[in-house]
């Protein structure tokens, strides 16, 4: 459950992160691959070494999608419809991995935002990412 204040905070934070989407996204992905090696199995077809073109562009894509959804959280199902189809029928990433990635996004934000990543901001973003992941997996079955 997200309060109006939290929705506003989330929208503001992700708006500020859009210019560094590539850095945050690739950092989060890299952390996930190192901390949870099983997640690499979904990327066997890409070069995911640090600072690789694939890693940077893929990280950017993911963060921009998260930022887009943050602009109007009440419309998540509409905004994410194409991505829902992609994940359900093509990518078929096991949803447990969404939790692992979300955790790594939070760690990246902590490293990037330092003291600005307050407990309140952490709570709001954790809730948002959970909602995002749930919507993403909606068409799985």
């Amino acid at each position: 459950m997200l309060s109006p204040r939290e929705r506003k905070l989330i929208a503001e934070i992700w708006e500020r992160l859009t210019p560094v989407a590539e850095d945050i996204g690739s950092d989060a992905l890299l952390r996930m691959f190192v901390t949870f090696p099983g997640t690499k199995t979904y990327f066997a077809h890409l070069d995911i070494s640090p600072r690789s073109a694939h890693l940077l562009s893929h990280g950017k894509k993911i963060v921009l999608a998260i930022a887009e959804g943050a602009k109007d959280i009440s419309q998540l199902t509409v905004t994410l419809a194409p991505l829902q189809t992609l994940h359900a029928y093509q990518l078929r990433i096991d949803p447990t991995n969404f939790k692992l990635f979300s955790h790594c996004v939070l760690v990246s934000l902590a490293c990037h935002m330092r003291e600005d990543f307050t407990p309140a901001a952490h709570a709001a973003i954790d809730k948002y990412l959970s909602a995002f992941a749930a919507v993403l997996a909606e068409k799985y079955r």
């Binding site: 190192v34 901390t35 955790h103 902590a110 003291e115 407990p119 309140a120 952490h122």
Partner: protein, 147 residues
């Protein structure tokens, strides 16, 4: 027995020698109670936990946060036998405190994020992996005596 690489051992010793227990302990527990409010069920006698500001300035939360962090010292000093190091504490959390072991992971996730915030860029993916591996062993050991 858990196998630790030289890098992992060095990383754990390094992190725990550098963090300020009086800051990180309270911050981690407070963050856990804010981000996962259902954890507050174990702290009914801690007074005002009404909102994030109250939790973050609550002296009982702060004191307990420091206690918990010092509890991790035992594992840091006994990395090759964390399992037995926490046998007694595991019984305590199960029999006396009745804490759902799933909560241990919530707290260690918050600790990871607080340490990440402190270390910034120095908290690389490799450092994170070592830290999380260590905390995962602690969490498993604390849950081991539950039945």
């Amino acid at each position: 027995m858990v196998e630790w690489t030289d890098f992992e051992r060095a990383t754990i010793q390094d992190i725990f020698s550098k963090i300020d227990y009086d800051t990180v302990g309270p911050a981690s527990l407070a963050r856990c109670l804010v981000v996962y409010p259902w954890c507050q069920r174990y702290f009914g006698n801690f007074g005002n936990l009404y909102n994030a500001a109250a939790i973050s300035s609550n002296p009982m939360v702060a004191k307990h946060g420091i206690t918990i962090l010092h509890g991790l010292d035992r594992a840091v000093k006994n990395m090759d036998d964390i399992k037995n190091t926490y046998a007694e504490l595991s019984v305590l959390h199960s029999e006396k405190l009745h804490v759902d072991p799933d909560n241990f992971k919530l707290l260690t996730d918050c600790l990871t994020i607080v340490v990440a915030g402190q270390m910034g860029k120095a908290f690389t993916g490799e450092v994170q992996a070592a830290f999380q591996k260590f905390l995962a062993v602690v969490v498993t050991s604390l849950g081991r005596q539950y039945h």
